[in-house]
């Protein structure tokens, strides 16, 4: 069996295996797996509305996945995507609602840049601490998540005069459009998906086509060797975290300018940043892979909402089924090994 066939077969087999095990779980708990999967399918691709919403859900996942993947490539584990996303969300929403009467061509980019800067700042701190004092970035980024959560909650309160949610942003900062809403039957689909896809290209270009990217990857492979080769390791660590934070901040801007158009105080994390870790790993930390990881994650997550709605399966069971499917996709390596062994047996005959 050639390599290419295995490459195509592995994801297909793993998804099918995941679906089968998920079906068994539904069957054992007394629900019809056929109804369940029909509901899931319709929940993802059912009509224009669900397709629009599915894409809407995928958008922040792509950016969060890019953020994690970018840091990974430089040998850093950015658990702080969640916090960077939240500050980015707030920054974009804030800029979106304080400037009145700005033309869209200035207002929208300004909001996006604000989100990127906020995310960059939240990435800069752990990067600096890592570079200067060798404080492990995992600890710092986790703590920065909590700081982000509670600082933004306090800021929301100030901005909204003691309320729990900001005003809606001005339409000049919004990523939504009437055209997309009409096209998809009032779904919250917005132009953010284009930004996300452009960022995929940006990350690929940065990593593969620039000196900076080469250095970042080199630092990721071996810090000592990079230093010996004359690279400034500390500068690269900070830069990697800052760029990673920018991607995460943009993910927040998608929520601020697209999905919600406001920010409300949060009792807990959004989860997008943490799911971003899985998205990046599923995509093997490559820009293109992140698109696939985010698509899988986003569509399953969104489609799952329809399973209690259309098939009456409790949310807890649905979550297990979705987790099982993702689990099998993630363990593609085992399936690859299995396929290769089967192939070599055939060859021996």
């Amino acid at each position: 069996m050639s390599n290419r066939v295995t490459n195509i077969l592995v994801p297909i087999v793993s998804v099918i295996l995941g679906l089968i095990v998920g079906a068994i779980i539904m069957l054992v708990s007394g629900f019809s797996p056929i109804d369940g999967y029909i509901a899931l399918w319709n929940g993802i691709f059912g009509d224009a509305y669900t397709i629009g919403e599915t894409i809407r859900q995928i958008t922040p996942y792509i950016l969060a996945g890019l953020a994690v993947a970018f840091a990974f490539r430089s040998g850093l584990f950015n658990i702080g995507v969640e916090g960077q996303l939240i500050v980015g969300w707030f920054a974009a929403a804030y800029v979106g609602l304080v400037f009145e009467d700005l033309p869209k061509i200035i207002h929208l980019p300004l909001s996006l840049i604000a989100a990127m800067l906020a995310g960059a700042l939240w990435g800069f701190v752990p990067g600096l601490l890592k570079a200067k004092f060798r404080v492990h970035e995992v600890i710092v980024t986790i703590m920065m998540n909590y700081i982000a959560l509670h600082v933004t909650n306090a800021l929301i309160k100030t901005v909204s005069d003691g309320g729990d949610r900001t005003e809606r942003i001005f339409s000049s900062a919004s990523l939504r459009s009437e055209f997309l809403a009409n096209l998809t039957d009032f779904s919250r689909l917005h132009y953010g998906i284009l930004i996300a896809l452009i960022m995929v290209g940006v990350m690929w270009f940065l990593l593969e086509k620039t000196t900076l990217g080469y250095e970042l990857k080199a630092v990721g492979f071996n810090q000592n060797a990079s230093e010996y080769a004359g690279m400034n390791v500390n500068k690269n660590i900070i830069l990697a975290m800052v760029i990673s934070g920018m991607f995460a901040g943009l993910a927040g801007a998608m929520e601020a300018l697209g999905t919600f158009e406001y920010i409300s105080s949060k009792g807990g994390f959004t989860g997008i940043g943490f799911d971003g870790i899985a998205v990046a790993l599923l995509g093997m930390n490559t820009p293109l892979g992140v698109i696939f990881g985010a698509t899988l994650f986003g569509s399953l997550k969104y489609g799952a909402l329809n399973m209690p709605n259309a098939a009456g399966i409790p949310l807890e069971i649905v979550e297990i089924v979705i987790a099982v499917i993702i689990f099998f996709v993630a363990s593609g390596y085992i399936i690859r090994l299995l396929l290769q062994r089967m192939a070599s047996k055939k060859g021996a005959k």
């Binding site: 297909i12 909650n153 729990d164 949310l315």
Partner: protein
């Protein structure tokens, strides 16, 4: 060779896809036996099969708090009207803020006559969905949405909390009581304001220790906070913190188990939390501040059924409307204290005492 296999794989996927899709439409027509197909959402309203549904916030219908209370109201309404679950009444749970829109839309598409959004978190979503679906009838609890097809329900939490404050101030032995809040949001601040006011009205010398945990779903945080309060001399804690408050109960129960003579009490919130306070044959629940979410849900459903849906109105439930109140203390509060509580209750109902909504 490789190409052919790839093609085979693709066509298999395609075939599976069409099969699934075909099943989908079959299923749609077979389950939809209560009406004549998917068309026209306005036409079905006049028929007798009235239906209601609700969307929970991230809490879920077993949160022992207002989601559960709302669901109980809907179940009650469904039973009284002989409706079947799923078709006559149903709920959808949200896992994150971004799910509200989808869940609300899903229910509207299933032609439910009234769709409730439970909790202030859904304000933005309800507002958006209401303007997109002018024919749908929506209702929201704990927030006001200014749309002609949305009924908004508010509660005077401060009035219920006031009575809890009176009871706490008269029952404390240490002269110190506590308040554990969830997030610092208007709803919870109303509880705090009422509680502080009630304590001050009954006994101005009693101190109140106010702490916010910043979350509704962190029981361990509630436990730590309660631990600190009890250690600092408070003996009665009123919590308005959802599942975080379960930690307050845990801490109180542990103290009661360690020392059965200890004077530790918890005042529950939203629903009667007597069962939460049970440990062995002792109970630490002094009383609970009830919030009549189920009453409100049933009333609005009934009005809508009679064609009098209060769209565009804001309904406020206070002590006078029996929308808030104290749960049966089951003997934990002595009669002389109860008499004073009743006295205050009458004054509030009559409008002699105006309980402030915010802390001064």
């Amino acid at each position: 060779m490789t190409k052919r296999k790839f093609g085979l794989g693709l066509s298999l996927m395609l075939a599976a896809g069409t099969m699934l899709a075909a099943c989908g439409s079959d299923d749609d027509t077979s389950t939809n036996d209560n009406g004549n197909g998917n068309g026209g959402d306005a036409d079905t309203e006049e028929t007798s099969d009235f239906s209601v549904a609700m969307v929970t916030d991230v809490g879920g219908v077993d949160d022992k708090s207002f989601n559960q209370s709302a669901w109980e109201g809907i179940q009650q309404f469904g039973k009284d009207n002989g409706l079947t679950e799923k078709e006559g009444y149903d709920y959808l749970q949200s896992q994150s803020d971004s799910d509200y829109n989808t869940n609300l839309n899903n229910l509207i598409r299933r032609d439910f006559d009234v769709v409730f959004g439970i909790g202030f978190l859904m304000e933005g979503a309800i507002d958006e969905i209401a303007s997109q679906n002018p024919d749908a009838q929506l209702a929201i609890i704990d927030a006001v949405v200014d749309q002609p097809n949305v009924a908004s329900v508010l509660f005077k939490e401060q009035e219920g909390a006031f009575l809890a404050g009176v009871a706490a101030a008269l029952m404390t032995e240490t002269g110190k009581v506590g308040f554990v809040g969830g997030m610092e949001i208007p709803v919870i601040e109303r509880f705090e304001a009422g509680f502080l006011e009630g304590v001050a009205a009954a006994d101005p010398s009693v101190q109140v220790d106010v702490q916010y945990t910043g979350a509704f779903d962190k029981a361990e945080l509630g436990k730590t906070t309660a631990n600190l309060m009890y250690q600092n001399g408070a003996d009665i804690i009123f919590h308005a913190a959802g599942a975080t408050g379960n930690g307050v109960f845990t801490e109180a129960k542990e103290r009661k188990e360690a020392d059965p003579d200890a004077n530790v009490w918890v005042i529950g919130v939203d629903a009667d939390q007597y069962d939460e306070g049970q440990t062995g044959d002792m109970n630490v629940t002094l009383t609970s501040v009830l919030k009549g979410v189920s009453t409100a849900v049933i009333e609005i459903s009934e009005q809508a059924q009679n064609g009098e849906f209060p769209g565009g109105e804001t309904l406020v439930y206070g002590l006078a409307e029996d929308g808030v109140g104290l749960a049966d203390s089951r003997g934990a509060i002595p009669d002389d204290v109860m008499a004073q509580v009743e006295d205050f209750k009458k004054q509030i109902s009559d409008g002699d005492i105006e309980v402030p909504e915010t802390v001064e």
